[in-house]
Structure formats: structure tokens, C-alpha cells
Subunit: 187 residues, 2 copies
DNA sequence: CGCATTTTTTATCATTTGTAAAATGATATC
DNA sequence: GATATCATTTTACAAATGATAAAAAATGCG
């Protein structure tokens, strides 16, 4: 999926608006392990993923939990920085070498205020993420850990190949030991 | 908080846009127990809560889980209907007699396409809800049920007075029995 | 008030999940 | 090939939570 396609996949933009948005994007290549955004900082950049996979995680004392994976076509953002100019709760780590496109959050905000199609594109982006997050919250409660794992295998089989089971376990809301037990039981 | 204030609280609108939006709103009074929106239907209405409290819940076989409470100033919406014209996952039940304002989702969508301030208002609304939902997902994982309950008591003490503990327990992701134990331990 | 209904608490037992530590497996580097 | 490092699985035990049933308390209503 090209960047162009992934932008249009969120919300259809007229050619002029699309061009406005795409002109802002600067390509960046970064290596696996790089920390793209840091929690507790007001992050001013937004990234589009062309190639690679990243995780968003929140830290606490010794452990961290992964609550989002970003892949080709996804947008990486420090939500609280982007919305409220406040330090965010998430850090972003590259789990593979990545080809990204970067845009200053401020520049994007300016487009939102001047181009109505892009404002609606930004609206739709947030709405879609919201639906996905709510569904995960609900799934946590209705389904057992085993069911959630099987669901993930069905819907995102590629993820299992690209991401360590420790991160997957955290994403599913269980420990790695627990996930290992589940995998043994299913077998 | 008036409807006017709660709209502006989400995102500042110029007077003209605010008027456009408010003119669409029709007041409705409904009684406790009324089911405002139904899961598995494409719901065409959006509601603003002026007075009262509601819950969003998802059903499954015998049980249901509450994953959102709406109070004065909040907006009630079937997210998937609103975004994708698809049947939603949530039903909405009034937990008190409510004063609401209703607007057709379609009418609102038209405003989004013609008034850039309102489009950005809609964007900000979704973004704020997204942040709240992500934070809850993270909190589920980091904090024990006891901590989550104490957090809720601190941040939303009013909720405990207005909503049954069964719904609260479900919202916290535990059973009512479990919540009752927690309350006994804290005492 | 008195009865019926709903909500909340208490008790018991089964199950799930977490914690900690060790064992195994995989991969990279010298 | 030996060693170091990291990921995964396994084991044993402890703690948290769920399921169920029943009692107690609170609420609503004629």
C-alpha cells in the first residue's frame, strides 16, 4: 500500500487536498529499536508508516504494556500531544527498520483549519481508531484470553510472525507465561 | 452546564457555526429505563445530554457489559452507525429520566461537509473520546481492580451515587461480587 | 405500613492468571 | 565451535477473580 492509498483509505480526499497533505510529508528511514516518540514529552511530529511495524507502549516502574501496533498504512501519533499539547502516555518503538513519512503536527493542524476535506479526513481517522479501541475494551471483557488470542491469529496472522510473543501477550492483556500456556493448550 | 457550553467545551466554535449546530437540535424528554439506541441496528440519531445519565452496553447471551457512562455535557452516539453506516455494538439505556437534544446523524454529517469549524469540532470530539478510551484500556492492565475502583471514586465520585454497583462493576471489568469484596476490604 | 422487587453483601469452592525461577531454544558474534 | 544474549516454554506456588447460592439490606409502590 502506498502512502497515497493509505491516506485515501481513511477518507476520500479531492486531488487538490491530497496533494496539499502529501507535500508536507518528509520521508525518513529509521532502524529497528529506535524510539520514535517518548511518553512524558509533548511530541510535535506525526508519522505515516510506509513500511515496517511499531508498537505503542506505556511504561510503569519495571514493566511496560503494549497497547497498539502500527503497520503499513497506519499513522503514528502521540494522541495527547496532538489533541491537547500535553505530554502523552505512549512511547513508540520501531520493531523493524521502517520507512516513514513525517509531518509536523502544527502544520497538519493548520491544514485542518483551512481545508475542510482534510479536517474531515482527520475526523474520520480519530473515529476509526476510537471504534477499534472500544471494540478491544469490550473484547477484553467478553472473551477469555484464549479467545482473544485466537481472534488475533485470525484477524492479524501476520502480526504473530513479526512481533515477539512478549509484546503480543501484553497487547492481549495477559503475561507472556499465560500466553505460552494458552499456546500449549491449543496445540 | 448548558448545551451551548457543552458544545463549546469540546471545541470553540464561532458564533455562526454554533448557531447552525444548535438550530438542528430538538429537545426530547425520556424516562428512566428507555432504550435510546439499540445494538445491531443502524441508528440515525445523535443525542446531547442536558440532564441525566445513561450507559452504553454491549450484550452477549445472558450478560451485558457497560463500557461507557454519559452524563450532562456528553454526546450519545452509535459510533459504528455514525462512522460507517453499519449496525453498532452498543445499546444505550437511560439510567435516569433525561433531558436530551436530538439531531439526525445525516444532518450533522452535512454540516461537517459544509462548515469547517464544525468539522473540526467533530474531529476534536472523536479525539477526546479516543484518549479516554485508550487510557481506560491501559488502566485495565496496569492497575488492580481495587486501584481502578479507587481511581473512579476520586475522579467521578458522583457516578457512585447515581449508578448501581452492578453497572459500575461491569464498567471496571469485574463482577459485582468482586466489587462488593473490594468495597468490604477497603472499609 | 407492608409486601414485592431489586440491589448489595457474604460465603464457599473452582478456575484463571500472575510471579518467580529454571530450562530450553534460537540467534548473533567473535 | 564456544559464548553471550535474547525469546520462549515449563514448573511450582500464590493470589486474584469468577461462579453460584443464599442472606441481608435497600428501594419502590399500592
Amino acid at each position: 500500500m502506498t502512502i497515497r492509498e493509505s491516506i485515501l483509505h481513511i477518507y476520500p480526499l479531492p486531488e487538490a487536498s491530497l496533494r496539499l497533505l502529501m507535500e508536507l510529508l518528509e520521508p525518513v528511514q529509521l532502524r529497528k529499536g529506535y524510539i520514535l516518540l517518548q511518553a512524558d514529552k509533548v511530541e510535535k511530529e506525526v508519522y505515516f508508516i510506509e513500511k515496517g511495524i511499531v508498537r505503542a507502549y506505556a511504561e510503569r516502574e519495571d514493566s511496560d504494556i503494549t497497547f497498539w501496533f502500527g503497520q503499513e498504512g497506519d499513522i503514528v501519533i502521540s494522541m495527547r500531544s496532538y489533541v491537547d499539547q500535553q505530554a502523552g502516555y505512549e512511547s513508540i518503538e520501531l520493531l523493524e527498520d521502517c520507512n516513514l513519512y513525517r509531518v509536523h503536527s502544527h502544520t497538519l493542524q493548520q491544514l485542518f483549519e483551512t481545508d475542510i476535506a482534510i479536517a474531515n479526513w482527520g475526523r474520520r481517522f480519530a473515529e476509526k481508531e476510537l471504534i477499534k479501541t472500544e471494540e478491544r475494551l469490550i473484547s477484553r471483557q467478553f472473551r477469555t484470553a484464549t479467545e482473544r488470542y485466537q481472534e488475533l491469529m485470525q484477524h492479524q496472522p501476520g502480526l504473530l510472525q513479526r512481533v515477539s510473543l512478549g509484546h503480543i501477550a501484553s497487547y492481549l492483556g495477559i503475561t507472556q507465561v499465560s500466553l505460552s500456556r494458552i499456546r500449549a493448550d491449543i496445540r
